[in-house]
Symmetry: C3
Subunit: 330 residues, 3 copies
């Protein structure tokens, strides 16, 4: 795929300092660029890499535009323009429509405008929207609905009755709709609580690899529009996640927690069950959220990194903290 800078400027509306007829064929990092790469720079610390890069075309801000002696594209948000050009060079593969002959599908009259890979198993009464791709070895249970333009990578499991909006992306190993962890204790034995709700997922959601989203106990677990969920995440039954919230890897969200819109949850954080978090909250990595959050802002817990030798002392003292406070009140 080749574009001249002029052609790109007609699509994305920017000005070029340099050779408008120069041809580029990909986006690259500064380190691994070739002559036909487009690169970007928005971080002062990387200025010292400009001499060494093989790229001849850079996207940057006005501030740094004179630091590069070849073609320069000036914009206020270089990374955003770079990303948009990257989408142009790296389109989602539009496969021709096909259903592999190894596919086992119990649904009659499945939509034909689909690409369904080998060994996929599809239950009864499934609806999948136009232009969707289903990767190898995926399982889609009875009565599942998936909107148009979905991309399921291989080895995804979607249980019965799950409902998913349009433009869905999900990576391998992810499970949607498994039973919530619900038991009652009767005479020292656990009685399973039937998990008869399902999972409802909005539009424009992406979910990473090896993540789990449990179905609700009675009603649905809910994931709003535009939510982004990383790898290795646990979303328990009855959880509610507001629109455009982003959740980084290894987060665990316990049952019935309700998270607002436009939140970001850092990697490895844990949200206790039945907690409510309001809109526009940031949780830093590995924080334990054990109480409601009613005000937008950034929240944390934990202790900082120390050498093990120093840490052992502070940790031992932590156990005596109350006594020290009591002593100091005297």
């Amino acid at each position: 795929m080749n574009y001249t800078l002029k052609q790109l400027s007609e699509i994305f509306n920017f000005k070029i300092i340099g050779d408008e007829e120069y041809t580029v064929d990909k986006v690259s990092s500064l380190e691994n660029a070739s002559e036909k790469s487009i690169v970007f720079l928005s971080d002062k610390k990387l200025l010292n890499m400009l001499d060494a890069t093989k790229a001849r075309t850079i996207i940057t801000t006005k501030e740094y535009s004179e630091s590069f002696k070849h073609n320069v594209i000036i914009t206020e948000n270089p990374y955003l323009l770079f990303v948009k050009i990257s989408h142009l060079f790296n389109p989602n593969k539009k496969n021709e429509y096909y259903i592999d002959k190894s596919v086992v599908c119990t649904t009659k009259n499945l939509n034909k405008n689909l690409s369904i890979s080998p060994n996929v198993v599809i239950g009864k009464n499934v609806l999948i929207g136009d232009d969707s791709f289903i990767g190898a070895n995926c399982y889609i249970g009875d009565n599942v609905t998936i909107g148009e333009n979905a991309y399921l990578h291989p080895n995804v499991s979607i249980y019965s009755n799950v409902v998913i909006g349009k433009n869905f992306i999900v990576h391998s190993g992810t499970v949607i709709g498994s039973d919530g962890f619900g038991y009652l204790n009767e005479s020292q034995k656990w009685v399973k609580i039937p998990q008869i709700g399902s999972v409802q997922i909005g539009d424009d959601v992406e979910i990473g690899s090896n993540t789990s989203i449990d179905r609700g106990t009675l009603d649905n677990t809910f994931v709003g529009n535009g939510v982004k969920i990383d790898n290795q995440i646990q979303i328990a039954h009855n959880v509610h996640i507001g629109d455009n919230t982003a959740i980084a890897g290894c987060v665990g969200i316990a049952g019935s927690a309700k998270i607002g819109k436009n939140c970001t949850i850092g990697g490895g954080a844990g949200i206790q069950g039945h907690i409510k978090i309001c809109d526009n909250v940031q949780i830093t990595g590995m924080t334990k959220v054990s109480c409601n959050i009613d005000h937008a802002g950034t929240y944390s817990s934990g202790t900082p990194l120390m050498t093990n030798k120093q840490w052992l002392k502070s940790a031992a003292r932590f156990k005596k903290l109350n006594e020290l406070f009591v002593k100091n009140k005297k």
Copy 2:
């Protein structure tokens, strides 16, 4: 499925205040009930929802029985009765017996009273008990034994020689019997320790989605009867989990740890290797268990949630905690 309240009372032995001939067809939450739903109430805080619910039949305690103007079922533990009725309305699907023609099975004379879904792969000398269901794309290795009435959801992997009791439930993406993480360091290189033990799992165990249980190094990793294990959990080689212990999502249990009976391990907790935890211990969420626990009770670690601004101050001070104590001893 329809039952009159009288029919239900004959099965579950309760008294009805209201219309014994009233027909119900499902269990529901208060919010999403319809006229033919059964709902339950045991939490005072939800009393204000009774006016709005469309349900006409409620299970509750004597204390709240006069708060609802329609049919009332009185019992000491409303949720437990509700769960039992939910099982009646939501039976495990008893599929007819079948082995899909795409199944690849090396075992001769496999039990016939089974439901085996498409693309399942089964090794040699496998024993699967009556009335078991094996979901699509599961893998069952050589010499595996699974008791009667098992339910394997799709995409489960069970390695060779694993032994599992009856009434087993396991959700998608879970792996049982993968090699433990065992290496010896010889001249800065890791030498793999062969993992030749297996995994032994008792009766009435349920395991969530995307969980890993490693096989033992020499002997077996052990999971007792009635144990309940949630999603995204790591159980390392040689771990021993006592009967009826329940382990919430994202817990990691390191090698050779021994956990007692009737324990509950909160989400995201970590149990260090070779630790012993006695019976009847509760570990709160995200706690690090770094020493033996010899007495029943509840245990914790970590720091509470704070605004990031406040937390940064406390965290910095934590590093100087020893100095403060030393100063205070003067």
Copy 3:
């Protein structure tokens, strides 16, 4: 498989105290040995088990050699010798070469010296080295390269363009090459950043079950030679892991972190994005690494285990730590 002790000594070069013609047929733990087992002892605490073991052959150090009344093999590192003998008794199954008839493979002229299990799906232009085993239901995307002597357990997903060295082992449920978690926020909506790098993995790497390794944004995520990665681990885009580093279960490594050689990362630890960790660093379990580490050594964070009652007091005091320090400075 049977060996006399003399035969073993010719392979591994050790001296025997006892009957050189004694035949052994397996390695075992002290508890579950039989008469023909080889066991080992290097821990003083286990001396009291020697009377009860049924084994008649033990590997131990000179120090304990007189504590056992049957055959004794003396060596400086008993466990290492035991492991080497275990490899002899438990060789990797060398299956005959075969490609199951259910395999779907788009690559023309795939190497023939392979064992490929049922329902495997292989894309275009894939190269797999001699003597490799591909387990059931694995997916291998277009342009993947895997070195000789690989062992992929069932249900592994490898995305397109991933490059892997020789002697690779990977366990079930693991995903290599899924998209990194990269978005730009434009007017409160997340714009996906195309993840067009890949993953490069060195020789002699083992990866556990249900682990995720994301592809790089522009360049490759990198895993060095001899790296060992346990179960349930998240390795984000652009991460770099140096040779012979070992990473225990449930660790999360955020984007662009760079970890040195010969490090060990304890279970449940979290490494923040863009952090640099030098060679020969040990991180203890559940530690949060939130700043660069420039000196070899052991590092920790967190608080110690306490009864919940005591912990609640210390935790409450932690929030007031700054005030206490300020007061003490007066």
